[in-house]
C-alpha cells in the first residue's frame, strides 16, 4: 500500500459534483456576497441582492458548463421553502391590518382601482408592444410580491422564471421613481406615497417607503399584502375575459 498521495483530487472532484447540496451552498454563498455588496453600496437600487445573486450564479453555471436542471435539483430545497414563506406573509399582513383599521374603506377602494390598473395596463401595453401570450401572462402579476407572482404565473400558464425577474425589476424601478413622480402630481402625504409604493412595487417598494417614514412603511406593507390577495383572486377572472 502506498500513502504517497493522500490528496485524491479525483475523488474530491467527484464528491463535489455528486453532493446534492453543492448548489445549495453556492446559492447561499452568492446571496450572502450580494447582500454584503448591497450594504456596502448603501443599497444602490440596481444592485438588489436577488439580481446580483442570479447574475453571479448564471455566470458560474455557464463557466462550469452546468445545465440549469442539475443546478435546480441541487438548490431546490430553497425553492420548496418558498411556499411556506408565502404562508408566513399572513403575519405582517394581519399586523398591518390592525394598525390602519380607521382608514380601511378608502384603502380598499384605492387598492381595487390601483391593483386593477396595474394588471390591465400590463395586459393592454403587452398587447400594444406585441408580447407573446406566455410572456404576457408572466407580466400581469408583476406588481405583487415575488412568491405570489410566481405561483400565479405558473398557475396561469406563464413562465415563473421570467416573472421572478420581472417582479424584482418592477420593484426596483418603482422604488426609484415613486417619490419624484408622485410629488410631481401633488401626492405628497406619507400615507398615499407609501400605499402606492406597496401596490406597484411590493417588497422593494415597501423597503423604500420605510426610508420615508414608519407610517409610509406600514401603509406600503399593507398595500403589498392586500394587492397580493386582490391579484390572486382576480387574475384568473381577468385573463378569462381578456380577448387574447
Amino acid at each position: 500500500m502506498s500513502f504517497a498521495n493522500p490528496l485524491d483530487s479525483q475523488a474530491m472532484l467527484l464528491a463535489l459534483q455528486t453532493a446534492p447540496f453543492l448548489w445549495l451552498g453556492v446559492t447561499a454563498g452568492c446571496f450572502l456576497l450580494a447582500e454584503r455588496l448591497y450594504a456596502r453600496t448603501r443599497h444602490f437600487p440596481l444592485l438588489h441582492p436577488v439580481l446580483v445573486s442570479i447574475v453571479l450564479i448564471v455566470a458560474i453555471l455557464r463557466l462550469c458548463g452546468v445545465p440549469y436542471q442539475s443546478y435546480f435539483s441541487g438548490a431546490q430545497l430553497f425553492h420548496w421553502l418558498l411556499g411556506t414563506a408565502t404562508v408566513a406573509l399572513a403575519v405582517p399582513l394581519f399586523d398591518n391590518l390592525q394598525r390602519v383599521r380607521a382608514l380601511l374603506w378608502p384603502l380598499l377602494i384605492a387598492l381595487l382601482i390601483g391593483g386593477l390598473a396595474g394588471m390591465l395596463s400590463a395586459l393592454a401595453l403587452g398587447k400594444l408592444f406585441g408580447l407573446s401570450p406566455a410572456v404576457l401572462v408572466s407580466f400581469v402579476p408583476k406588481s405583487v410580491t415575488t412568491p405570489i407572482a410566481m405561483a400565479l404565473s405558473q398557475h396561469a400558464g406563464g413562465l415563473p422564471a421570467l416573472t421572478a425577474n420581472v417582479v424584482i425589476l418592477t420593484g426596483i424601478f418603482g422604488a426609484m421613481i415613486a417619490v419624484p413622480l408622485l410629488s410631481l402630481f401633488g401626492v405628497r402625504s406619507d400615507i398615499a406615497q407609501g400605499f402606492a409604493l406597496g401596490i406597484a412595487a411590493h417588497g422593494v417598494g415597501t423597503a423604500r417607503a420605510m426610508q420615508i417614514s414608519p407610517t409610509a412603511g406600514a401603509f406600503a406593507g399593507l398595500a403589498m399584502g392586500l394587492n397580493g390577495v386582490l391579484t390572486s383572486l382576480t387574475l384568473a377572472l381577468l385573463l378569462a375575459f381578456w380577448p387574447a
Partner: protein, 120 residues
Amino acid sequence: MLYGFTFLVIFQLLGEVLSRGLHLPVPGPVLGMLLLVAWAVIKRGVDDRVGRVCSGLLRYMALLFVPAGVGLMLLGPLLRDEGWAMLAVLVLSTIITLLVAGLTLHRLLRRRHPSADEFS
C-alpha cells in the same frame, strides 16, 4: 421552532388541498396565507412561536426566489426577441400603477380629512 414551522406547513397543505380539490384559481400557498390571516383575525393574533418562525423565514425570503430566478438562463432567445418590448411594458405599466394608486388614495383622503397630515 419546529412547532411554528409545522403550524405553517399545515396551513400550506390545507391551502394546496383546497386549491386542487375545489379547482380554485388561487395557488395553494396563497390560499394558505389567506387561511392564516382568517385564523389570526378569529384568534386575535398568532402564537409567538409561529410569529418567530415567520419573521425568520421572511428575513431570508429573497434568497428563496433565487433558484427559480436563475431559470432566466433558459430564456435567452425570448429575451433577445422581446426584451425591449418587455422593458417598455414594465416601465410604463409601473408608472401607471403608481400614479393611479397614489392619486386615488390622495383624493379619497382629502375628501374625508381636509388635512390629511393628521394621520402621518
